[in-house]
Symmetry: C2
Subunit: 308 residues, 2 copies
């Protein structure tokens, strides 16, 4: 007789050790599709089964963005579907804090130096202690940053669509008041989704309102910053600098000034490295299998009407 | 009549706005030496008053190390003397965490790149999540690092002289068991004082026991690492890399291989930047003036017998 407490999970396509371990950690057992209560899917929609047995009550998808799944018409209302939304937030938050710290403490020039330039670099070393950091678009990644930034003694000024207070932030503003943050905060982390409203959110006008020591970190989408205006601000030293994991255009072309400006730091869209995905996804799967077994609400349930 | 609740503090030599602000924040008022209950001194012993009035019950010195003051015979037993020990720990801890994060996430090569090398860099991005970080010599700086590292999801393995459990560390080992950490921890922060016992603590033998992904951070003294053995390990990729704020020799000579090895990151002894000293010292002074006014034990009281 099967152990009724251990949910039977179909893992596909094929076997992935890291995900299988995650299912086991969550208390699940691997099963064939015909015998499964749930499906954990490790790839895109192309190879997804055309028809799921009615016994499958839950499907875990592998990505945070689920547009291709919705477009393929696969997400039905006969079972619960979950995405990987939020699973990767911790890793991106870690990278964003690294970029901010590296900027504020002048690491870019230090790493590029090939001689001991202490007298030159020492006066440029800043600190996050006592700094106000605005997180513009404070969703899952921003929320994961707050305990990190506050551990360093920084205060967080959160901007969200609704303005509902974000736990741990010193203050939360609704998106309609975004304009206020540029002159108020010491540094900025851009973490908003790319929409028509957020395109070139950081432009010549907003850059002009920032403090001359302000660092701008972008871990969202390159299009949220007007690259030309940013290069001007960096060349004129009207802000402290910019640390960008995403760029516009992306990939950033060889020879672009952002590669060599002393106050610019580029990482090639690796805040959420592909190599980390299986492990991170496996942790998310383990948590959801455990919740499924206990009959608790699952993480990152998809609402097909809202589209995420 | 003077406000008996506000301690009268002599600030010397001369007036320093940042320190005067710190005294005011702590609830003190500035006074002439003849009228003072306490002295806050902003420079070295050369210009210190030859004789202090008996009414001076406390002297705050500006540095963490007080060897010159002891050598000059100024530290007497007629009053309390305090140093700035611990005041700078937060700033050094911030830098040490930055160096470790930069190493683990591959930032060194990313910052030096002048083209979009995503496919090459992506697989080398690590994380502090779930990592075990050994802090070898877990004093004030190490203790200030623990809440930072644990916020990132790392566990701390502390090594102290006594082995008395360090709050927040997953485990504390006495210095006599230091040998155990090299194969156990994922990464290492060297934060021990430079003594005969700690000279070349990290040598060819200890490097050989580290994991191939291990990063070594040194924010203590360059002599704690055998530089030649470290260069060999970095060239052979037997460890992940090294991020050093202190070097041996120091300053590191131009042309030294550590300047250009892809897995080495040098910052020129700026973890505790000179420019940050007045502000950091002012915070320490404010805290001590407040304690003095309240009759509470002061921070960093000097024991002339122990010499610190």
């Amino acid at each position: 007789m099967p152990n009724t407490a251990a949910p039977r999970i179909h893992l596909g396509p094929g076997h992935q050790t890291t995900l299988a371990d995650g299912i086991a950690r969550g208390g699940g057992v691997l099963a064939s599709l015909a015998d499964a209560e749930a499906v954990v899917w490790a790839q895109g929609p192309d190879t997804f089964p055309e028809r799921l047995p009615d016994t499958v009550r839950w499907v875990q998808l592998p990505s945070a963005g689920i547009e291709p799944w919705l477009a393929a018409g696969l997400v039905d209302d006969r079972r619960t579907w979950t995405s990987a939304a939020g699973a990767y937030a911790g890793n991106v938050a870690e990278h964003a804090v690294l970029l901010l710290l590296a900027g504020v403490r002048g690491l870019t020039e230090q790493v590029r130096a090939v001689s001991w330039r202490k007298a030159e670099f020492d006066p440029r070393v800043g600190t996050l202690q006592g700094a106000t950091v605005a997180i513009v678009g404070c969703g899952g990644i921003g929320r994961a940053m707050i305990p990190l930034l506050t551990a360093f003694g920084a205060e967080v000024l959160a901007v969200t669509r609704s303005g509902t207070p974000v736990p741990g932030a010193a203050e939360t503003l609704p998106a309609t008041r975004t304009d206020e943050v540029w002159s108020r905060a010491d540094h900025f982390v851009i973490a908003a989704p790319a929409t028509a409203e957020t395109a070139q959110l950081v432009d010549a006008d907003t850059l002009a309102r920032m403090k001359p020591t302000a660092w701008v970190v972008n871990i969202a989408r390159g299009t949220l910053i007007d690259t030309g205006a940013l290069v001007d601000a960096l060349r004129d030293h009207t802000i402290g600098g910019a640390a960008l994991d995403v760029t516009d255009p992306e990939p950033l072309p060889t020879g672009h000034p952002l590669w060599t400006l002393p106050n610019a730091l580029i990482t090639p869209h690796i805040a959420n490295p592909a190599t980390g995905l299986p492990r991170t996804l496996a942790e998310h799967v383990a948590a959801n299998v455990e919740r499924f077994a206990a009959g608790q609400p699952l993480l990152a349930v998809i609402d097909p009407v809202r589209g995420y």
